[in-house]
Amino acid sequence: MKSNLFPTKNPILRTPRMNLPPTGRGRVAHGFTRAAATSDHLELQVCEQCETVQYPARDACEKCLSPELTWLKQSPLGELLGVTTLHHSNHLYFQERLPWRIGIVRLDRGPTVIAFLTKNVSPPETISDEHRTRVQVLLRLDRGGQAIFVAHPIEELNIDLKEKLQMETGCSPLGRKILVTDGKTAAGQAVVKSLLDAGAETVWVGYSEPWKSSEVIHRLKALDRVELVPLDLTDARSVNALGSELGGKVDIVVSNAEVHRTEGISSRPGTDVARAEMEVNYFGLLRLAQAFGPAMKARSADGPGHAVAWVNLLSIFALSNYPSQGTFSASKAAAFSLAQCLRAEMLPHGIRVLNVFPGPIDDEWNQNVPPPKLSPSALASAIVRALTEGLEDLYPGDVAREWFARWSDNPKALERELVGGSL
């Protein structure tokens, strides 16, 4: 199938290797990494004593030297004071993608920042009190997973998905070839639909137990740009066979297959169910990563249509065990840990690993869980949005966001609150 968006690769040419953007950052500056992992909204350090907003990241307040600096969301608005187009760079990543436009922006909140500029933003010919260019500065992750600023025109609402900066910071499904590992679940079907709506070129949809014919599978089969592929994550041969076939073509893997039973420790004797959960949720991910990871890493700079992202459907229960779904929580905690390993191995190749931590999804396995539950379609559109913005951690829905806030604030409090059995 030929892509409309990305030119077909010349098979004779050697595949370009990835050279990452600069990865050096001080520990304090990783406050931007934390913010950019979950949102493109600007955060800066603010002094708790005198409220001075700081930039670049500091160890003590520039004004009063207090060490009490808190990261807080800030207005992204500012004034563009100067621009340059770089035709030379001292770093290979930039050199291979010249030219680059950067600008100097005075934020309304005080500090001056250096930012990349989208193509539509320029200062006035003559800068004066009457002639100003207002911009908004968004926080993004670059190909190396490091936070950077990108300045957009203040009136710009729709991001041009094909612009270089967007391509280098986002992982939009537009024009991509994508594997969704399980098409039978409600979430899987919603994700396939959202990816197609977002312009995916091809979506390969895995289904296990092909002898079980189902209406769902028939519906997926009928969709344009969708191809069903046999995939049993509990079977290494099945995973490897698909990896051999698709590993060198796939741009985004969505690892969404999961086994979900609602058990604690004492409610069901034995380990069979827990083992089944681990077999898919943990070992399945491991098999998948081993089969697809190496080929994707090799294709991470393969022209504009390169391998770009890996999505893991985890659970907010990976952060703290939800006792009434205790073994499921444990399998997701294991998968979360493995996903961190996968990220560590993918980052040096410029491939984004997006970990998704939903609360209870409104599906057949959460029938006894009280609302609010996350609808599969809301989950799917949140994933597409997160890919487009190039996020790294997604907490979709109210329950997940609240859990994450409670956990970030005091994980011990959350642990105690969960003893009672409520969410």
């Binding site: 004071l81 340059t84 770093h91 800068i127």
Partner: protein, 390 residues
Amino acid sequence: MRTNRASYEGVVLAAPFTVPYERYSIRNANWFAAQALRGLLSEAKLEKNQVDGICLSSFLLGPDTVVGLTQQMGLSPRWIDHIPTGGASGVMAVRRAARAVQCGDADIIACIGADTNHVESFREGLANFSAFARDATYPYGAGGPNSMFALMTDHYMRRYGATRSDFGQIAVSQRANAALNPNALLRKPMSLEEYLNARPIAEPIHLLDCVMPCAGAEGFLVLREERAKELSLPYVKLSAAIERHNAYADDPVMIRGGWLRDRDELYAQAGITPDQIDVIHTYDDYPVIVLMQFEGLGFCELGGAPKFVRENTFTHDGTVPHNTSGGQLSAGQAGAAGGFLGLNETIRQLLGTTGARQVKDAHWGLVSGFGIVNFDRCVCTGAVILESAR
């Protein structure tokens, strides 16, 4: 204005020495520092142990500092200083050494800026130039100082109406000066047209706005006037000196440096006005900074430099003799020695030893320093006024 700064009276500078510049060298910075000291001793006809103070600036001396050099060069000084201020280090060396000899902490101090340049060393120095550069500028295209000065230049042009030709006027006249300096690396005559047609590096900065990194060293001696007389050393007098760091931090983008804050005191200490200066050496890592120095040092008002540049000529025989060595733009930027280039050239002009590029009747010289692009601007500024003793 604070006026309680002690006078520099009785402090002199002597024996300017330059270790010839090379585009690249396989020697290390220690080699250039040692050859600078050797040259200074030979120039001044001194024994090594007569130098009892040493003030050093170098980017590439690591892992050593001046401490390591004392043992390497077999010195036993009673005063040392190592200054990390790059383009401002020459001016700062003078200031520190002057007080040391005034107070008798040292008798004769060698001030040296020395650096080498390997093929990879400039690039390697950029990623970790400073914590702020690592976190907040290098990740934005890794353009190095070119990119930050491009932003300042762009803003200056839009705000004050400067044109590329205004900057070209500086670069072209410095090249003409360099033709008369045998140590300058770039001596081929350059026209304004060639300047304007140079390839873009970081617009509006083009190739001929950029200095060429090189290896080399500059050094001079600081001592008391009576000591220079005893040694029969020709000298120039230190009349005034200022330095300032992180000035005007609230300016959203750099439009002025710390000179503006202290210049009244500078001229008051020397007892002269800017129009009495016969030869001026600015720190010229990019032409826009030269214009900011003309403004900051009182040759014109803030934003007035484009007009000033259009109304004057800057060769050694021009209306404003400026960077008569060719400056770093044409002589080369030998790392931290670039901060000493203007001092040595001014000392020579006031001693009357610059031959074909000699400024006629040069009596007062002004040298300005500017160093360290820590984040979005240069942080260190300074200036000295030197007076001929002839």
